[in-house]
């Protein structure tokens, strides 16, 4: 594997097995993430975005999760890794932020203590030095009156400040790879743009690779280098942000763009995608979007379309996309 790649996934499959059913959450995902690259995974509820991110962190529940295929993160093979190897990876190289900051913050400790203890756990420095670093981190994420905020408990902070505090904790291990699971979805518009711009600046200044999960095309447009569109556990399209936003290749991605309300459509009917996503307990052969697709043909239902690349850097899983000659 190339030295430059932070993540390489090949035919990644994740399923959850229980007595009553098997949920096929991720069904053959291929992608690579280079250093300093920002990939947005765009998709609707249940398409497998969070499960993909958690697979990279090794955070899907052990016991019921079956991971197959190849997944290499910062040089570590994740599929066969022990819990000890994964916790090394999580502490040193990879960090994750969430939609709800309280899942990452402990309500009974001050912000300063939580950051300092995270640092002490991973580096051999004194608590006092770690606390000084915590202050730097709060300033880095632009928390006003950072010194005073070291003493604050999570519930004493507004939603936007809590989100910044969570980002500070994630950055405390100087990660090479930041995984972001809808970190701005629950925020107000005027706060969301602040957090997005902050993440973009930090990504550039610290040179991190980022995988950013969102269901909002506009958010992806602000931060992504590349966009992967996910449907029923597969990347149905992947490409540079401009191309995917302006001229998507896959009918599902086209439908999503048409269904996204934006200026200029006032009073007009929106394009809709009929129907609903498939039940992941029984994946049918062929293209998962076929039952909802206006361009469906018999071949779509027969076999899963392979990834076709009409031009370098772009690909889609649809029989109507022509492979470059």
């Amino acid at each position: 594997m190339s030295e430059d790649l932070l993540v390489r996934a090949k035919n990644l499959n994740v399923k959850f097995v229980s007595r009553d059913a098997t949920v096929h959450a991720v069904n053959g995902v291929d992608f690579q993430l280079a250093q300093r690259e920002v990939l947005c995974i765009l998709g609707e509820s249940g398409s497998g975005k969070s499960v993909t991110l958690r697979a990279i962190m090794g955070l899907n529940p052990r016991g019921k999760t079956v991971v197959e295929g190849e997944l290499n993160v910062c040089g570590q093979d994740v599929v066969g890794a022990s819990e000890a190897q994964m916790s090394q990876l999580r502490g040193r190289q990879v960090a994750m932020i969430f939609q709800e900051p309280m899942t990452a913050l402990d309500p009974v400790f001050t912000i300063g203590r939580q950051i300092a203890e995270t640092i002490v756990r991973h580096e051999s420095i004194s608590y006092k030095d770690a606390l000084a670093r915590a202050l730097d981190l709060l300033e880095l994420v632009q928390i006003p009156s950072a010194k005073r905020r070291l003493e604050a408990y999570p519930h004493e902070l507004s939603g936007g400040l809590r989100q910044r505090a969570m980002i500070a904790i994630a950055l405390s291990c100087k990660p090479k790879l930041l995984l972001a699971d809808e970190p701005t979805t629950a925020l107000d518009a005027t706060v969301q743009i602040q957090i997005l711009l902050l993440l973009r600046r930090l990504q550039q200044e610290l040179g991190m690779g980022v995988i950013f999960v969102t269901h909002d095309l506009g958010v992806a447009g602000e931060i992504a280098d590349r966009i992967a569109v996910m449907y029923a556990g597969r990347f149905v399209e992947e490409g540079p942000v401009r191309d995917v936003m302006r001229a998507p290749l896959h009918p599902y991605a086209q439908g999503l763009l048409g269904a996204t309300v934006h200026a200029g459509l006032r009073g007009k009917r929106l394009t809709t995608i009929p129907g609903a996503p498939p039940d992941l307990r029984a994946i049918a052969p062929g293209c998962s979007f076929a039952p909802r697709c206006a361009m469906v043909e018999a071949a779509c239902r027969a076999d899963l379309p392979n990834l076709r690349s009409p031009e370098p850097g772009r690909s889609a899983r649809c029989i109507h996309v022509n492979e470059a000659a």
Partner: protein
């Protein structure tokens, strides 16, 4: 037998369907310091009208009082102050008793699941209201089926299902059908598509536009999504911390916002163009707490144009253009703000 017809139009086309006057709701804080004094100023004196057949959109950030305002209008909670006038009649008087008013105004909430009784089948949920109002089951059930068809759910497939057997988008359609069952004249839609996926959101928005024409409805449409409001609303009301910041026709609000808050809200939208990304956040910080709102203009703590006058005086909601009003000292002639014109109006 009761037919449940639509209520007649009493005041004629010139009479606004709904007039809200100085509506106030302060929630006392439980266990506040010394047991008194603390209160959440959730809605603090709002005035507006909704004309017959129009869609008024309300936008604003979390906690600015949108849902409280809608619950006040539905008279689900008691106002601290203020009046609601429906088609020329004051609500809760002999001329318009609450029970009759509540039939004419129905509400759809964001949480499609919590709004449905899990033990009632879909057809029973929709037929429930009309049956409470005296319609017999033998008529209420076929009506429920007609409404299911109107919201795009085939009765044969869905009438006997229970809420947990439906997707979020399907449940929201059922909620809308249920709201329509009493033949209301107005729907209050509180974030009706916020919990839905984009492809489903588009289906429900299209359907709401169709139903509005089919049933001659008036909408109060609440959303934090400016794109959605721009798409559905005729006029837009922008709320900030319990007050009206700006109100006007949708085109002039989006093309020429007058209030610095509206300008910031619009500029906070993702650009939808990777070549013209946002570079600076329009404003910093979070909205302040409505327990202790800033004096004067409530936006002043985040406003880059604030001056002394903004802290000392509350800006009035003043006219800035045709049907367009904003509450900012900058657009109030003679206010004393350095950017305001000198002479008083």
């Amino acid at each position: 037998m009761l037919q449940l017809p639509t209520m007649p139009d009493r005041g004629g086309p010139a009479q606004p369907l709904l007039i809200v006057q100085n509506l106030v709701k302060h929630f006392p804080l439980k266990g506040g310091l010394f047991g008194q004094g603390g209160k959440v100023q959730a809605v603090d004196g709002i005035d507006f009208e909704i004309r017959k057949g129009e869609t008024l959109g309300i936008v604003g950030e979390s906690g600015c009082g949108k849902s409280t305002a809608s619950r006040l209008i539905m008279s689900l909670i008691e106002p601290t102050d203020g009046e609601i006038i429906f088609d020329g009649e004051k609500v809760g008087t002999a001329a318009l008793p609450l029970k009759e008013y509540r039939r004419q105004v129905q509400m759809v909430f964001q949480d499609s699941y919590a709004s449905l009784n899990p033990r009632l089948s879909i057809e029973e949920s929709i037929a429930f209201g009309p049956m409470v109002h005296g319609l017999g089951r033998s008529r209420a059930i076929p009506r429920a089926h007609d409404l299911l068809t109107a919201v795009g759910l085939a009765p044969a497939q869905f009438a006997h299902r229970y809420p947990h057997e439906l997707s979020g988008g399907q449940r929201q359609r059922v909620n809308i059908a249920r709201a329509l069952a009493l033949r209301p004249r107005m729907l209050i839609l509180d974030e009706p598509v916020s919990a839905l996926d984009k492809s489903v959101e588009a289906q429900v928005l299209n359907m709401l536009l169709d139903l509005k024409a089919q049933f001659e409805l008036t909408y109060l449409f609440i959303s934090h999504d400016l794109n959605v409001v721009q798409h559905v609303a005729d006029r837009v009301l922008v709320m900030y911390l319990g007050r009206v910041a700006e109100i006007g026709p949708v085109d002039s609000i989006f093309a020429a916002p007058q209030h610095p808050y509206t300008q910031a809200l619009l500029a906070s939208r993702p650009s939808m163009d990777p070549d013209r990304r946002r570079t600076e956040p329009p404003i910093t910080g979070d909205p302040p707490n409505p327990v202790n709102p800033p004096s004067g203009c409530r936006f002043r703590t985040r406003c880059s144009l604030a001056e002394d006058i903004c802290a000392s005086a509350t800006p009035p909601l003043g006219t800035t253009g045709p049907m367009h009003q904003a509450a900012c000292h900058i657009v109030a002639p003679g206010s004393g703000h350095s950017m305001a014109s000198r002479e008083a109006a």
